[in-house]
C-alpha cells in the first residue's frame, strides 16, 4: 500500500476526556503544548558553542523539527534565551539586560562549560557561570557540546514548558528566585 501521507509526526493530544464530538483537557496542558512546540530562541552566542549551535540549526540536525526554526534576535519577542559561550564580566550586564527585556514566560538555557561554570576560564575577567546574574533552567555540559546534546537540552526545556502551570510565574517561589537575583 502506498502511503500518500508524509511520515512527519504530529504532536499528540494531551491527556483529557474524549467523547463523541468533543475533547476536553485543561488549559494548562493545551497552552503548554502550544508553547513547547513554538519556542522562539534568542541565540546569545559569544564563542565556539555558537558554532555548534549553527550546526544544530542547520538542516542536518534541524532544530526546526522542534518548532524552534524562528530565531528571535529581539529579546522582546523571544521565549528562550540560549547563552552559548564564554561570558566575560564586562558582558555580564549586557546579558542581564537582554534577560530583563524578555517578556514572561521566559526560559534560559546555558550551553557549554563556560556559560555553565566559567569552564577553563577560571580567571578575573570571566563570569563563573551565568547563574551568577540570571536564573538558568537547563545546563548543557560539554566543551563544546555536540548538536545532539543541544537538542537534548532543548527537549528538556520543552518538557519544562509543557509541564509548567500557567500560574507558576506568579508563585512565591518564582518571585523569591527572581528577587534573589535582584530582579523584580
Amino acid at each position: 500500500m502506498i502511503h500518500l501521507m508524509s511520515d512527519i509526526e504530529l504532536v499528540g493530544a494531551p491527556a483529557g476526556v474524549e467523547g463523541a464530538g468533543f475533547f476536553a483537557t485543561s488549559l494548562d496542558k493545551a497552552v503548554g503544548i502550544a508553547r513547547a512546540n513554538s519556542l522562539w530562541p534568542l541565540p546569545f552566542a559569544t564563542s565556539c558553542c555558537g558554532i555548534e549551535f549553527m550546526a544544530t540549526m542547520s538542516p542536518h540536525y534541524d532544530l526546526a523539527r522542534f518548532g524552534a526554526e524562528r530565531l528571535s534576535f529581539s529579546p522582546r519577542q523571544a521565549d528562550l534565551l540560549m547563552v552559548m559561550g564564554t561570558i566575560s564580566k564586562k558582558m555580564g550586564p549586557v546579558l542581564r539586560q537582554v534577560y530583563l527585556q524578555m517578556a514572561e514566560p521566559r526560559w534560559v538555557l546555558a550551553m557549554g562549560a563556560c556559560a555553565s561554570s566559567g569552564g577553563i576560564f577560571d580567571t578575573y575577567s570571566v563570569l563563573q557561570g551565568i547563574d551568577e546574574i540570571i536564573p538558568v533552567d537547563v545546563y548543557i555540559p560539554g566543551c563544546p557540546p555536540r548538536p545532539e546534546a543541544v537538542i537534548d537540552g532543548f527537549m528538556q526545556i520543552q518538557e519544562l514548558v509543557k509541564t509548567e502551570t500557567l500560574r507558576r510565574r506568579d508563585t512565591p517561589e518564582y518571585q523569591k528566585l527572581l528577587a534573589s537575583y535582584g530582579i523584580l
Partner: protein, 168 residues
C-alpha cells in the same frame, strides 16, 4: 637586516644621552635599554624626531611586575620601530610601587592613548598628562589591577573546583 646596526644606534644614543641610559642586553637582536622616568620623555622625543633615526612608530607600550625588586617593582616598557631604517628598540623604565607615576607618551604618539589606558588598567601605572586615563578592558567598577602578582589568578567565586568536591 636594518639599515642601522645596533652598535651604530647605541653610539648615537650614547653620544646624546650618555649616562641617562644603561644597556640591558640584545635579546633576539633587539637592543634593550633602561632609563628613569625623569629622562624617558626626552629620550622618546629625540628618538622620534632625530632625522637619522626616525622612530616614528610606537609598536607597543606595556607593563610588568617584579614584586621582589624592592623600589623597582613596576616596569613600563616601550617598543619603538623606525620604519625608515627598519630597526627596533626597547626601552624600560622601572618605578617604585608606592609612586607609580610616569610622563605620558600621548604627546608624541596618539596611539599611546589606549596602550597607556591598558597599562593603567592592568598594572595601575599612572601616566601623568594622559588625556583620559581610565580603564579600557576590565569592568569599570573593578578595584584591583589584575596583572599584579599579588592578584589571585583564579576567580574566588568559582565553586565547582572546591576541594571538597574531590575528597580533599
Amino acid at each position: 637586516m636594518g639599515k642601522i646596526t645596533n652598535e651604530e644606534l647605541l653610539a648615537k644614543i650614547n653620544a646624546k644621552f650618555g649616562d641617562q641610559l644603561t644597556v640591558v642586553g640584545e635579546p633576539f637582536g633587539l637592543l634593550t635599554l633602561e632609563t628613569t622616568r625623569e629622562n624617558i620623555s626626552g629620550i622618546l622625543s629625540w628618538l622620534k624626531t632625530e632625522p637619522s633615526l626616525q622612530f616614528i612608530y610606537l609598536t607597543d607600550l606595556t607593563g610588568i611586575h617584579y614584586p621582589e625588586n624592592a623600589g623597582k617593582e613596576i616596569g613600563v616598557i616601550y617598543h619603538l620601530h623606525s620604519l625608515v631604517n627598519n630597526v627596533r628598540i626597547r626601552i624600560k623604565v622601572f618605578l617604585d610601587e608606592k609612586d607609580i607615576h610616569i610622563p605620558t607618551a600621548t604627546t608624541l604618539w596618539d596611539g599611546a592613548n589606549w596602550m597607556e589606558r591598558e597599562t593603567y588598567d592592568f598594572f595601575g601605572v599612572l601616566f601623568d598628562g594622559h588625556p583620559d586615563l581610565r580603564r579600557i578592558l576590565n569592568v569599570d567598577d573593578m578595584t584591583a589591577f589584575p596583572m599584579r602578582k599579588e592578584f589571585p589568578l583564579e576567580d574566588p567565586n568559582r565553586v565547582d573546583k572546591k576541594d571538597y568536591f574531590f575528597g580533599r
